[in-house]
Amino acid sequence: MAEITFDNVSKRFGATVAVNAASFTVRDNEFFCFFGPPLSGKTTLLRLILGLEVPDEGRILIDGKDVTRTGPAARNIAMVFQNLALFPHMTARDNVRFPLVERGVPAAQITARLEEVAAKLHIGHILHKHPGQLSGGERQRVAIARALVRDPAAYLMDDPISALDARLREEARVELKRMQREAGRTLIYVTHDQEEAMSVADRMAILEQGVIRQIGTPAELYDRPATSYVAQLLGAPVMNLIPPGLFATRPGAALVGVRPEDLRVTPDPAGRAEVTGVEPLGGYTVLTLRAGESQLRVLLRGQPAFAPGQRLHLDAAEERLHHFAADGHRLAG
């Protein structure tokens, strides 16, 4: 049970501003996601929450208590590191037990808790091995078990399933989401995979060079991106950003954005768009079009019959258009 609040927190490393005046609140029991490209400050935010870094400015509060200068051990937060950081000289069992042993939990309780977590993560059969003898996926599960074994105020995870292959990742994120619901704890999650972020997060924060650009539910961010940067970060294929002219445009708009799935196309020999590429993906087909000076991507269901060179009528519903000012900010309305 923890509500984590950043109040105008900044952190610099030499000349680099890793986190710039971040203010936000992660609510109790929330699955909260930091999302952004590499070096955008995601990991620094986690380290600030853990107490591994002390902010240069601002305050950090956990459940209303100022912990800005509290050491990591006293914050009662569990962490899964990106490189997992298992203790190589200990067996998986001793790794998972470690947080309880260090906190002086009675032995009988440790054993019970260990068995419970091992069963949940299916690692009972590998507990006697050292991390060096485990596969990547097994190590990941042991690292997650080490975080889950105690009862912290919040869990932090730094891209913990990045080493898994695509299919296992999908399973793992569903599993993580379920475990977070069951544990009823705040979970702060860092990922560079937008699909992963959107699929698990209750709310997410979008980072760009140490600045939080927007916070909201995945749907809010997707439907009403605050800047053209956020708009392009979420969604695949990425949002089409084109100069005004092709669609009805509000005054002041320097860029018009339209998501590939919001574009409507119909064959029309006199149409203004020309097909330049067709990528059938099974359930979906991605068309690449040229219309005037702009190139656009269109996402269509199924496998409609379009061929390169074909001319199309192109159009989008007015309410599905996003208008951005020259500085990248969304125009109101």
Binding site: L52, A85, L86, P88, E102
Partner: protein, 286 residues
């Protein structure tokens, strides 16, 4: 990988040749150690690889039994020098490793700037002689001349930079997240060090300790300058094994050399498991 028989034969032949070349001095020493006086003394006349009449006379001689056919007698036996070497090299290694490891950890984790680590090896920029003469005077003033503890202290000081640099490299190579994980999971800084860092460093520590021990064990110059009689070490004592009548006492020297080779070899075997891991530590991040 299955390779052809001729290749295997060639491989082993090459290895045998390499071993023969590198091990000849050792073999020669072992052989000499067990030769009676008549065989090692007139080496030019009848050179033998293997003693014709193997004997332990050389060893007996070292420990004061003059029942051999040597006409000389030693004014002191090898027992005290061996004890002196063992004490000074071991305690010196303990001093260097303790201080070196602590300093390396501190500077690796909390240090800033590159100058301090470099300053620690500046002693090495001078020829040892230039440093040792002032040390000799200090030791005389402090009453540390010709004592095993005086020797142990200077060994610890002289090999400290090696211990420091070896350990610093190992600490620098260790992923910092492992210590951070322990911090987050409830350890104090000190407890992280004893519970996580040191156990992980067992292999590098063993390798560095062996290296430092061998440096101390084989020192000649410092012991020559800082000991005179009571606590001379094996190398200094070995140099004194000669007589005006027979010249160099090669048999006794070989026997003492063989004894001197024992501790490093035993240590090496004891930590063999760690040694390879220690020397290749950086390559083994998980």
């Amino acid at each position: 990988m299955q390779r052809s028989l001729p290749f295997q034969l060639f491989r082993y032949a090459a290895i045998a040749l390499a071993l023969a070349i590198t091990l000849v001095p050792i073999l020669w020493m072992v052989s000499m150690a067990f030769k009676p006086f008549s065989e090692w003394q007139s080496a030019g006349a009848n050179l033998t690889w293997i003693p014709n009449a193997p004997t332990l006379d050389n060893f007996r001689f070292l420990f004061g039994d003059s029942g051999s056919d040597l006409i000389v007698a030693l004014d002191r036996t090898a027992g005290k020098p061996i004890l002196s070497s063992l004490l000074s090299a071991t305690i010196g290694t303990v001093i260097a490793m303790t201080a070196g490891t602590a300093a390396a950890y501190g500077l690796s984790r909390f240090g800033s700037g590159a100058n301090l680590p470099l300053a620690l090896i500046q002693l090495r920029l001078f020829p040892p002689m230039a440093v040792m003469i002032p040390v000799m005077m200090m030791w005389a003033f402090l009453g540390l001349m010709d004592t095993w503890w005086g020797l142990a202290l200077i060994y610890g000081i002289v090999t400290l930079p090696f211990a420091f640099w070896l350990m610093k490299t190992f600490f620098d190579d260790m992923p910092k997240e492992i210590e951070e994980a322990a911090l987050v999971e409830g350890c104090s800084r000190l407890r992280v060090f004893t519970r996580v860092t040191l156990p992980m460093m067992a292999a590098p520590l063993a390798a560095a300790a062996l290296f430092v021990f061998i440096l101390n064990w084989s020192d000649y110059l410092i012991a020559l300058l800082l000991t005179t009689r009571e606590w001379v070490t094996i190398p200094v004592y070995m140099a004194s094994l000669s007589s005006s009548m027979t010249g160099q006492l090669y048999g006794a020297k070989a026997a003492l050399g063989l004894i001197a080779a024992v501790p490093p070899v035993i240590l090496g075997i004891m930590i063999q498991k760690h040694l390879v891991r220690g020397l290749t530590f950086g390559a083994l991040k998980q």
